[in-house]
Amino acid sequence: MGMSLSPFRLFSKLLKPGRYPIVPIGVILIFIFLAVMGQSIAPYPANQMDLPARFVPPFWQDSGSMKHVLGTDDMGRDILSRIIVGTRVSFIVSLLSLTLGGVLGTAIGIVSGYYGGRIDSILMRTADATLAFPIILLAMLMAVALGPSLQNVVISLSIVLWARYARVVRGEVLSYKEYDFVALARVAGASGFRIMWKHLFPNIRSTLLVLLTLQVGWVIIVEASLSFIGAGIPGPDPVWGSMISKGRNYVTTAWWIPFFPGVAVAIVCLSFNMFGDWLREALDPRMRQVGGGG
């Protein structure tokens, strides 16, 4: 087993011409490119202040110019450059916390659903408690206790994320473990670990991928909110969230300061969500055409 959804096949599927979503994938690729290149393709150093050129509007407005395509902020820093440089932090945060929370949550969810009973009760009540705890408060506590840092943001996000994964995965496992193929695997001498990893996990893999892509957007938004209330990644390096938060003071006079970072968050979220929706259909063998499997 395992040959049916190997990374190679996934890759070839993505390359296959046809009904794959060009726009979201293109947008994601562009942002990944920005995240990788960072400062080296930004027109200005992200933290370079230029006080005479404060509050320059975007280029299409009367006092705007092509020198600062998306305008400048209250300290004369170029907004486009700050968005480009901020991409990396947003992607790193979401990647790390999704991986950490996802792996932990999936493992706990599978074990919880498969074994059931007391283990299930303990793990799921813990997940409930975690979900009931407001993430903003958690992140603030961590920021107060350990000081705001990228690491702490990732930890707070993972703590909330694992519970979401665990819930969804457990639900899926509960339904799949009643299938006869699980009973037959047991008859064929498979161990509990093997059944969970080789028989149940492949069935929830597509759900997981979809959840993952849907969460990318959510994580970026939460990271932005954390930065917004000051419990996020500390400055002066640009982060989308803190750009929005600092810019909100100027919404009425210089709307472009919070607006463009907000647009970046929205575009990335939307693209990942659309990509996730497509991925679910592409990965589910039951949604493939007869004869087209393979």
Binding site: Y179, L184, A188, H199, P285
Partner: protein
């Protein structure tokens, strides 16, 4: 003939909040190599639990095998540790379950699932796996097997899927195959087809086959010997021909009477009044006493003995005199 399996006084009980459920309570039978043995009984009489006990797959807790011995080729399965038992399951015992729609993993192709099973049996030369998988599909009479190997389970019909489950279960060349209601989910014509295939495969591979069913028709078609289970006990065991011609236990006789017969026209089929007893209440005497039409006084309070009425034909009943009097059983 060589004995393959011997189950002796097997007791599997479930310890629940409401009491001890004696799902299997002292079951004994044996099976020879290449023989087909049937277990019949109504829902909840313990036939599936008997099969799961042989595989030691009883959910524990609440269930537990409290007593008995299960010998497979002379080896007591109940004495093996977990690891050894897993090896027995993979290599020596296989199973076909009721629902072909959920017996295959939906996210793997037929080919990869077959290869998974082939790997258990032989660890070398992965290059030959595909060819072996194709041969297995040919063996279970799947048309254009090379194409089917690349198919997903949802692309095949129920009958085809059940045949593939059969192929997978035989891939590791087991000595014992347990079919738990293998045709319940199939429609009538496919049932006949599948049973015929199962019998052919059994003759070819000489696997010991246990068929669990509630359908006497399947027993008659497939089995040499059979056991009738009632309330966790085998109430009658013997060659199939004898069970049909001279049912000795009033329960078996009642079941036979309730089968429609071709040569007679009846307006209503006879049924056995009442319900099986709840298994979590201690039964003092015979579990069938309340529904029995030939019950004696002592049946209510004393457990009936196992009486041997013909070689290989045993019945668990007090009132055996009626059997010896009339040569035609207790009709």
């Amino acid at each position: 003939m060589d004995e393959l399996l011997r189950v002796k006084n097997l007791k599997t009980h479930f310890f629940t909040k409401y009491g001890v459920v004696k799902a299997v309570d002292g079951v004994s039978f044996s099976l020879n190599k290449g023989e087909t043995f049937g277990i019949v009984g109504e829902s909840g009489c313990g036939k599936s639990i008997t099969a799961l006990s042989i595989l030691r797959l009883i959910q524990e807790p609440p269930g537990r095998i409290v007593d008995g011995e299960i010998f497979l080729e002379g080896q007591d399965l109940l004495k093996l540790d977990k690891k050894q038992m897993r090896r027995v399951r993979g290599k020596k015992i296989s199973m076909i379950l009721q629902d072909p729609l959920s017996s295959l993993n939906p996210v793997f192709t037929i080919g990869s699932q077959l290869i998974e099973a082939i790997r258990i049996e032989n660890h070398t030369k992965p290059s030959g796996y595909w060819e072996k998988a194709r041969k297995l599909l040919e063996m279970v009479q799947i048309p254009s097997p090379a194409v089917r190997l690349k198919n997903w389970p949802h692309q095949l019909s129920g009958g085809m899927r059940q045949r593939i489950v059969g192929a997978i279960s035989l891939a590791s060349k087991p000595q014992l195959l347990i079919a738990d209601e293998p045709t319940t989910a199939l429609d009538a014509t496919i049932q006949v087809q599948f049973l015929r295939l199962l019998r052919e495969l059994q003759e070819k591979t000489q696997v010991g086959l246990i068929i669990i069913t509630h359908d006497f028709g399947i027993i008659a078609r497939m089995c040499q010997r059979a056991a009738v289970m009632y309330a966790g006990k085998i109430v009658e065991i013997g060659p199939v021909k004898e069970l049909f011609d001279r049912p000795a236990h009033p329960y078996t006789a009642g079941l036979m009477r309730s089968l429609p017969k071709l040569e007679e026209t009846v307006e209503r089929l006879v049924s056995i009044p009442g319900q099986p007893p709840p298994l979590d209440v201690e039964i003092k005497g015979c579990g069938f006493y309340d529904r029995c039409d030939v019950g004696l006084e002592l049946c209510a309070n004393k457990k009936p003995p196992v009486v041997n009425i013909n070689p290989g034909h045993e019945v668990r009943c007090w009132n055996t005199q009626r059997i010896e009097k009339g040569s035609k059983g207790c009709q």
